[in-house]
Amino acid sequence: MWSIVDGYLGSYAPLGLLALVGVLIVGGGFFANSLLRPRRPNAAAGKRDTYECGLDPVPGGWAQMQIRYYLYAYLYVLFAVEAVFLFPWAVVYLQAGLAVIAEMAIFVGVLALGLLYAWRKRALTWQ
């Protein structure tokens, strides 16, 4: 049986032991807790409320957040995805010479134009 420990999988043995110890500690803690804690299965007022550092919880767990950053999200989606064209380009631009570099410059320039527009329209300021 110990031959498993010597093989390739053997290098995972410490990891497995560590995980086992972790499970034992956490599980043991919960088990000890269940032995020691008082049992009062009634529903006292406020028992199931969300705990909010001593203050009474504000009504409702669902609330609408004001997302100030959605414009950044839009811009990010665009710029992040347009970058996909840079990857195939990066593979070939050294072989292909100046024309290809110029083409990519134009492509990035058009994107930069969009950024210029967004900046001038104050889409980048925190509103």
């Binding site: 070939v92 072989q95 292909a96 290809v100 058009v110 134009l113 527009y117 001038r120």
Partner: protein, 514 residues
Amino acid sequence: MDKLKLPDMDYVALLPMLALFVAACLGVIIEALVPRRFRNIIQLVLSIVALAVAMFFVVKQSGEVVASKALTAGGAIMIDHAALFLQGALIVLGFVALLLFGERSLEFGGPFVAQAAVTVGSERDREQTGRELGSTETFPLALFSLSGMLLFVSANDLLTMFVALEVFSLPLYLLCALARRKRLLSQESALKYFLLGAYASAFFLFGVAMVYGFAKAVDFKAIHAEALLGEGNSLLLIIGLALLAIGLLFKVAAAPFHVWTPDVYQGAPTPVTAFMASCTKVAAFGGLLRVLYVGFDGLGWQFTPVLGAIAALTVLVGSILAVTQTDLKRLLAYSSVANAGYILIGVIAGQQLGLTSVLFYLVAYGFTVIAAFALISLVRDADGEATHLSRWAGLGARSPLYAGIFTFILLAFAGIPLTSGFIAKLSVFGAAIDGGQTWLVIIGVITSIILAFPYLRVVVMMWLSEPGESTPSVSIPGGLTSTALGIGTLATLVFGVVPGPLLDLAEKASSFVR
């Protein structure tokens, strides 16, 4: 490693598209840097200059088309006679529609909202409706859209076509949402157009994937060769064609894919509606023609019965529902659906005659429909345009000139002789009889008669009713709207009286290079 072989780029052939694209980018810079009150005039001049440059190069190249050199941009773009004709038509129609975009005298600040992001009905919104100059981003958006259309009609593979489809659709979705008045309607139309348009283009894309699976490539030449060869999984090809057709028929507004048309035409700002009704139709039919005639010709037109059924359904739905409309913009939308059906009949007719008739119909209809929407933008009351049919009662007594022009335009839609509508319908039906599609011609003629009813009802209403309290006034048009109206009306008359030159031009253009 070998040196990378770059695709051949014939930049001169691409110049019409590049001119519009560069102008649109410049337009964005202008939006960012120039003060608001100068923007409208600068944008308008810039757009017109760009369109003129583009037109110049289209005309210049039309003399030098050689089949062997028509293919460019690494095989992605085909500049043949048909592409140049369609590009020219798009540029001219786009020019006339852009004149309406620039109009500022009918209403303070023009037809577009100042800040689209402002919530409808808020204090800030009331303030901007009355007092702020309209946004001029509409010009770059329209130019981006037009350059996408030019690419769409000259695309030689399905991927280029898909990208072009999105390039010309996305700005249109935004333009729909920018009306100054009735902003809720406008935004709703944009939402509907966007969701349905994106849905249709997803179908188109899946069709592209299927065709790629069949033909191992997406350029039309390879698809044609593979279809002729008859090897491979033809199920993929047929599924692919069906899905592609859904995407394209959505754009041309053929039934049963027409449901967006009335809502979008009604809700969008009237200049944008004019732009869509003329240019989108040309572009979408241009794309459809190329797909069917160049890419899928190898199928031997087995799909004719299906297309025929769609054409018949389209003319029926368009004409019958037009009768029940009470809003002029919706009425024209259904009429545009019916017209898409007539053009589809020409597409099915096939041969050179069918192609010629389709090209002629597209141009003739484009001019007439722009004139119609230009006139609708003139009839207004305190709340903006008065498009309800009852409001037009008695308009003939108030302003005989404009009522007369509108009557003429409606007669052209109905296909009365001496208008371009008559010649267009005649040539389409003639081609269809020639192509052995007599049953479609019979349905076409019957629906034309049905369709004449709503048009004539408007005419009767304008002339024979007494003007009441609620009859709105006709605004005196500014120079731009008058020019657009004049060009549209004149073209309708000229193409009706002397259709020869345009028919010749269309005939010369009615050949695709594969």
